[in-house]
Symmetry: C2
Subunit: 556 residues, 2 copies
């Protein structure tokens, strides 16, 4: 075990359990087991070395006496240790909520407590696509319906809902439709999701793509993450199974493959072609993986891209589907940013596949596709509700039945999140009472995202050594940062990756929290960071410009 | 592949994707890929043999012509098949939503459509603990707060909330406290759960047990199922890892162990000691498993029991903790039914452990315990909201940090479900405006459960060959049924387990849906069924009595 605490002999048989502060932000408590009301301490693990400090909230006078008397010499002896738990869990990496985010939260708390010693007056959380943590207001229609679903007794006074709270009639009507199907949002639904909601999703897909969709191929999920986990759990059959994953990527994919002890087969996106897919890179890595004995079964595409912000062209999508058809790869299309597109138009993998099946008879018939969507992104931004779905296309029905069995073990996705999926795919339409406000709110969010994306992009244009692709979609920019040799040396001296070093200094100087490119994977000898463009205002872009120029001067 | 469809030669290159009706109730669609708008069929897999029937909702005249012309000779050739997907998923069994439940749903639909040919006029879903699917009304205080959390704009007119909708002031106040912490229920929270909610849970545990609890040891979850999955994922390190699981059990445990390719080490509960734990049975099976090379790491206890309804005594709990201490087993205490106790009082594993640590210095110090709770059961009954938590006691902080990393990959549990956990553990107290109604609703539900449990129990007493332990807790009774030899032969002739045969006949005759004991595991040569006592009224118990006496007469 990596940590040992020594206690005086009278306590030797009594291990401590300890509060540990992790970079992840997890806090775990510690109480002496014999006298839990009289003995408590916190141990902070920094760089593996325990530090003990008194926990004022739990300690009595007696405890303090105890604490000061004891020497830390006892040994913890847990049944489960880092050395014997599931090694796949240990191997998994997930850095989105890492050290820099934790430090940013500490700064936020200090500012809230009136600390004037920091060189900034606000913390900007640009590290995570969490719109409602920042200024994004929920869309009124959605939340009005959800409030009635949570308390249907409100429906007994529709007059007051209308006059005192401005609830339009279509809010009331929609609530009744949903309740007629789910009965209560407190009851388990069908494990694939409530039938009426899957019907709505199927209609949405049909309208989006111009090709039919069947409610029976749809699985409602607790956010897209849970859908990805389900799919990879079914697809991967052990250590030789491999899945092609774009680099840079959202680390959910590599983490889940680690948990399954399966192989991540990376393929680099082409930064200089606006982060598009590079067919040669895919084929080359596929061949290498096959030669190494990996049974490559699937390819993940994130479109629009996370962290790249890229929106794939019809040609790019075709080339992926071509490889999938030729190489017998299941396509996992992560399309959670499908409405976050600024230039051009979103094309779904399903639509492109159906087009190609019509255009080139035979060739694409065997392609299996799973495409994912979510209420967390887009103009909905309802991450905390954990709603989403995936559609299966071309799957063997027996495999789909296994997917059903798998999801049924967890009973059903959150029902209120399912209802939100329904509202997302079936929003108010022209002529309905909620339509005007809905359009206004929707467009307001979309315009805000676009203008902030452009402001950031323009700021990056001015910055020495920074290259950024034009914003196309999603909620992110992922600029390259070319740092001076001295900065890279200074980072190495601190035992840090150079992008991490840069991002930490950015946070310390400006209060702006972004994620180093190494958290997503990047081409060798390149450095990046990912920033969202969700935070209110655009002037914080200038904070980055100022910091960058000072940083470059310092390490010139 | 188990299924092959043959098509006429002009369609040979075009595999079908098919709607498959599974006993699970999953429906998967089927469209011919070349002409998705013109071609559709449904294939029903019964006993592995495909039957094709027209799908009236999707078919055009053209399609029908196509369908009748074709012969089914083409071969589906999917990349993923039953033969190459994750074998652990394939091996997992989860029967709670099985064939009998599907048939009951079909009967419900027929009755709703006016079918008069059935020998009953309502279907009673006694197969699943889903209170709000039946008559249980949500508790007003909970849903009032949730409605405001979903639409905080309602807070702008508190006067109308009070006068037009009867919202008490404490509902408004509580909403504000929760919103101050989570900001928006649409934002991701901390991956362990929102801080203010973990604080409330810790206070609840302290008050329940008289021993301290630390918010930093608590992990909010999407229902207890997700907590169990997390814990088993971390604990099990491969095929030699084993977990002791009570028999009969809730099949989540065996299914999750299958998914992890770990060993379920069963131990029989002692039916004749009110389904208590049998120390000798645990020790015997533990020894056998060890001798067979299994590294037994943990023991699961479900208290109050599912499906048994038993409530463990202080002595039973002590004996489990003793074995855990001696044999170095992590204890997983599934305590989701902790408020569903009719006789005696619920004792938590945490409380008992702390008592024993005080009473017998040294012996119990190394016990690691994870205890789970949920909003799905109790008088809350909010299954669809997927809320719950687990508390870690005595875990190595480094292992707890790995659990944190694991849960952070899925970002956070549903935030509205987290808020419901807060309301469950911190309900209105005496003197607060919502208190009287809360008590009335809470007690009404509790009394209803008790009286229905007793009515069922009394009915079982009258039934020949049926033995049932006195109701103690949870939402279930799990009677033994001693069936005549002729019934067992008749079941065998239909290739069915005898308990399944009995439950199917019960459904066909009465519309009452229960789950055969074989779905939970039972002692060899015994037969049981599990029934909830959630359905409204008590007269349906008489339907069972009548059926049983006719069944016994028929097979005498």
């Amino acid at each position: 075990m990596a940590w040992q605490l020594k206690l005086a002999s009278h306590l030797r048989a009594s291990p401590l359990r300890c509060s540990v502060s992790r970079p992840s932000g997890a806090w775990l408590s510690c109480h002496h087991q014999h006298a839990p009301r009289h003995f408590s301490s916190r141990v902070s693990l920094a760089a593996g070395i325990p530090r003990v400090s008194p926990d004022s909230t739990m300690q009595s006078q007696t405890t303090l006496a105890h604490t000061t008397r004891r020497t830390l010499t006892a040994v913890a002896s847990c049944r489960l240790t880092l050395d014997n738990i599931n090694p796949n869990v240990k191997a998994a990496k997930y850095a989105v909520r890492g050290e820099i985010a934790t430090k940013a939260e500490e700064y936020r708390v200090r500012l809230a407590q009136g600390d004037k010693s920091l060189p900034f007056d606000s913390v900007i959380f640009a590290n995570i696509g969490n719109p409602q943590q920042l200024d994004q207001k929920p869309i009124s229609f959605f939340r009005q319906v959800l409030s009635l679903l949570e308390n249907p007794l409100l429906l007994e006074n529709p007059e007051s809902l209308r006059t005192n709270f401005g609830y339009p009639q279509d809010v009331i009507d929609r609530t009744k439709v949903l309740l007629a199907d789910v009965q209560s949002v407190g009851a388990y639904s069908h494990s694939q999701g409530a039938p009426v909601i899957r019907d709505s999703v199927a209609k949405f897909i049909e309208q989006r793509d111009g090709f039919p969709a069947n409610p029976q191929d749809l699985f409602l999920t607790a956010g897209a993450s849970s859908g990805v986990s389900t799919l990879l759990n079914v697809i991967c059959d052990g250590p030789s199974a491999g899945v092609l994953v774009p680099i840079p990527q959202y680390p959910l994919y590599t983490a889940t493959l680690s948990l399954l002890d399966a192989q991540c087969v990376p393929y680099l996106l082409d930064e200089h072609k606006a982060w598009g897919t590079d067919v040669d890179a895919i084929k080359e890595n596929l061949s290498k993986a096959k030669a190494a004995g990996t049974d490559v079964r699937a390819i993940v595409v994130i479109n629009p891209g996370n962290p790249t912000g890229a929106s794939l062209s019809a040609e790019d999508i075709k080339s992926v589907l071509e490889i999938a058809a030729e190489e017998r790869l299941v396509v996992i299309a992560d399309e959670v940013y499908q409405t976050n597109v600024f230039s051009g138009e979103f094309i779904s993998f399903k639509k492109r596949l159906r087009q190609l099946q019509q255009e080139v008879p035979g060739k694409y018939d065997n392609v299996e596709l799973a495409s994912l969507h979510s209420v967390s992104k887009g103009m909905v931004g309802e991450c905390g509700h954990r709603g989403g779905y995936f559609e299966l296309v071309g799957f063997d029905p027996e495999v789909a039945a296994q997917i059903y069995k798998y999801v049924s073990i967890m009973l059903c996705p959150p029902v209120i999140g399912q209802c939100l999926v329904e509202l997302m795919v079936n929003p108010p339409t022209e002529g309905e009472p909620s339509y005007e406000l809905y359009r206004k709110e929707y467009n307001g969010i979309k315009d805000g995202l676009r203008s902030r994306a452009l402001a950031l992009y323009e700021a990056f244009q001015k910055m020495e050594g920074v290259e950024c692709q034009e914003p196309q979609g999603a909620m992110y920019l992922f600029p390259t940062i070319n740092l001076p040799a001295k900065a890279i040396e200074a980072a190495a001296a601190e035992n840090r990756a150079a992008d991490e070093f840069y991002c930490l200094q950015l946070l310390d100087a400006t209060g702006i929290c972004v994620v180093p490119g190494s958290g997503f994977g990047q081409k060798e000898n390149t450095l990046h960071f990912r920033t969202t463009f969700l935070a209110p205002g655009t002037d914080w872009a200038q904070r980055i410009v100022k910091f960058h120029s000072e940083f470059m001067a310092k390490y010139k």
